[in-house]
């Protein structure tokens, strides 16, 4: 008998918990260095005590948490700047906006909401992410999220994200176990435009433009096709337009998308799946759209 061993998961699903604001007064200095704060340096954390509405130009240093039962509303035109601090020294900024309650950040095409680095010369990973964890019915529209580790992460949450731009991040949009509608967004200039582990997600990824990333869509693992990917424009990404992780052995339906060409061989050459690694599943491309889908409202913020 020669059975394959089951290798333990090393996948990181960040269920980070904490966070802190601002727009408000500067918080206490962040302890740094070995031995700080009883052996483990801490990221400053601030939890919202009740519903808040943000507008204007705000700064976050550390972690701001929107707890369960609390709603954060961000008005059009608001700019949220995340200060670059790296308490744990992992090379990724620790400032973040962490939502376990609800966030409603609905900008307009004329007045988008911006989540960005507070650095004068911003770079990817200056701050951590906008993170929805166990959040219900959150909504982002006409938002720009940039220079983060992840523009947005959605886990164990229901959310609608439409007409947003995620750029200059490691992961533009990242999700797992999510009940989300992600529509009309633009992901560009990221390492991964979209990165996901489906894990029974009922997510819909439709009508997005995913181009100019290193990898367009990265399906890491634990996916069986319960998420829907249709009507997207996925083309012009540096390495691959669609890539499967090394433990994704199940085929992934991805029909009804535009790949920048109608030539199946050319499209296949942009896909990292069973055609490259025999152990992987296959990205199922049919039907291949024969023309770019019409953008009803355009892409991104």
């Amino acid at each position: 008998m020669n059975l394959r061993p089951i290798f333990a998961s090393a996948v990181s699903l960040a269920v980070t918990v904490a966070l802190l604001v601002a727009g408000c007064a500067p918080l206490a200095p962040v302890p740094t260095g070995p031995g700080a704060s009883s052996g483990r340096a801490k990221v400053p954390v601030r939890g919202l005590a009740s519903d808040e509405t943000w507008q204007g130009d705000l700064r976050i240093r550390g972690s701001v948490i929107v707890p369960k039962g609390v709603t954060l509303t961000i008005l059009p035109g608001t700019v949220v700047r995340f200060e670059k601090i790296d308490v744990d020294g992992d090379g990724t900024g620790d400032s973040e906006l962490y939502v376990e309650g609800k966030i409603v950040a609905e900008g307009t095409s004329a007045r988008p909401i911006r989540f960005t680095s507070a650095e004068s010369s911003p770079a990817p990973r200056d701050w951590k992410y906008l993170y929805l964890d166990l959040s219900e019915k959150s909504s982002l529209a006409h938002c720009i999220s940039e220079y983060a580790f992840s523009g947005v992460q959605v886990h164990f949450s229901s959310a609608t994200i439409r007409r947003c731009t995620f750029r200059h991040c490691v992961d533009g949009l990242r999700f797992s176990t999510a009940d989300g509608r992600f529509e009309g967004n633009r992901m560009t200039g990221n390492v991964h435009g979209v990165r996901y582990e489906e894990r029974n997600s009922r997510a819909t990824l439709a009508g997005n433009e995913i181009t100019g990333n290193r990898v367009g869509v990265f399906c890491v693992t634990e996916s069986k096709g319960t998420a829907t990917l249709r009507g997207n424009r996925i083309f012009g990404n540096e390495q691959y337009d669609f890539k499967l992780g090394d433990r994704q052995r199940v085929d992934i339906p991805a029909g009804g998308n535009w790949w920048g060409t109608t030539d199946p061989a050319a499209i296949r050459g942009r896909i990292f799946d069973k055609g490259v690694e025999a152990d992987l599943g296959r990205v199922l491309l049919d039907p291949i759209l024969q023309a770019p889908p019409e953008a009803v409202e355009g892409y991104g913020a």
């Binding site: 996948v11 990181s12 918990v17 948490i65 376990e100 219900e136």
Partner: protein, 359 residues
């Protein structure tokens, strides 16, 4: 040197220097005590080894002692965390034991351990492995001498993590003949542990009636192109004793209740803590047993500090839609802080199904 060889040398040394066994432990030092049995009968004269760490060459035995005729032993140790192993002869045949409570934590006072032994299996032997498959390990898992089905063999690349969690690799469930085979491993030394959970599942604490076995020849060096053949005998897990039930020393414990949004106690849920605010896919630092009808939980910890508290319905993998899950909401980041040998009680964790339909 394997644990098997190390235990043999310790046994030999103990026979040469019997006076060592008669030294009374200092009353001021913590003390491990218990009884080594085989099939419920005492193993007279068994050698109990207290291992404080693993070196590349094998276990480092901090101290050892010999059991009395009734299988009882006691040994004084510095406060710390140890693996307890035993070997000896029963009815003239070699036996081996690996405490089901490993790693054993002792801070002060006396901690009592029941140590059940099994027949000592032969050392690993090697044969040609499957071509092009790297290093391999294969063998048979038994319980009370009979092949055991539905057991998994966990392969650990290091002792870090105390041989818990999914390890570096894991076998599919054994068939009725108890056989397993794992290939494709890089050449290296590995620790092999077998577990069979009555309720199925791959991770989480063992419950009463579950089976586990630790190969006494650990670490086993697996060679490229070769297949190591081993036999692992399992024992049955008794009730998982809490730290407070087995020691008179101080204990560090979190206690509370798991309820739903309406305040109704939730049964069958595990409370857990992480010592890092980023949970990831790591094992929790500590967890409770399943809650009863009153939703009460207790998490016994080996140190104080800041921990992030939550509760969930299942162990292993990421929470699935419909699973009851929640965090302690007394602080924004779900953190609780407790001193060593301290108690923190009255904590409440609210759990709700993840992503219920329509939300």
């Amino acid at each position: 040197m394997t644990l098997l060889a190390r235990l043999a040398s310790v046994l030999f040394a103990a026979l040469l220097i019997p006076a060592c066994a008669s030294v009374s432990p200092s009353p001021a030092r913590p003390e491990l005590a218990g009884r080594v049995t085989f099939g419920g009968a005492p193993v007279a004269g068994a050698t109990v080894s207290v291992i404080d760490r693993y070196l590349p060459s094998g276990p480092h035995v901090a101290t050892s002692t010999r059991c009395a005729d009734d299988g009882a032993f006691q040994v004084a140790v510095p406060a710390g965390s140890y693996y307890l192993a035993a070997s000896g002869l029963f009815d003239g045949k070699p036996v081996f034991a690996w405490s089901g409570q490993n790693p054993v934590r002792i801070d002060s006072g006396k901690r009592w351990l029941g140590v059940k032994s099994v027949s000592m299996p032969p050392p690993a032997r090697y044969e040609a492995g499957p071509a092009g498959k790297g290093a391999s390990v294969a063998g048979t898992v038994r319980f009370k001498g009979a092949p055991s089905a539905n057991a998994h063999i966990y392969v650990y690349a290091s002792p870090e993590g105390n041989f818990k969690g999914m390890g570096y690799a894991m076998s599919p469930p054994t068939a009725a003949d108890g056989r397993f085979a794992i290939d494709g491993l890089p050449e290296s030394g590995y620790w092999l542990v077998a577990r069979r959970r009555s309720a199925g599942g791959l991770t989480g604490p063992l419950e009463k009636g579950d089976l586990f076995g630790f190969f006494p020849g650990n670490p086993v060096y697996l060679k490229d192109g070769k297949s190591a053949l081993v036999e692992i005998e399992m024992i049955e897990k008794e009730k998982a004793l809490s730290y407070s039930e087995v020691t008179s020393g101080g204990e560090t414990v979190l206690r509370g209740r798991v309820v739903d949004k309406g305040g109704i106690p939730q049964a069958g849920v595990y409370a857990f803590v992480y010592d890092d605010r980023v949970f990831g896919h790591q094992r929790p630092y500590g967890q409770s047993g399943p809650t009863g009808p009153d939703g009460a939980f207790a998490i016994y910890l080996d140190r104080g500090g800041v921990f992030h508290l939550g509760a969930r319905e299942h162990f292993g993998n990421s929470p699935a839609p419909g699973e009851r899950f929640g965090f302690y909401d007394g602080t924004p980041d779900h953190a609780v802080e407790l001193p060593l040998s301290g108690k923190l009680e009255g904590l409440t964790v609210v759990v709700e199904p993840i992503l219920p339909e329509g939300k």
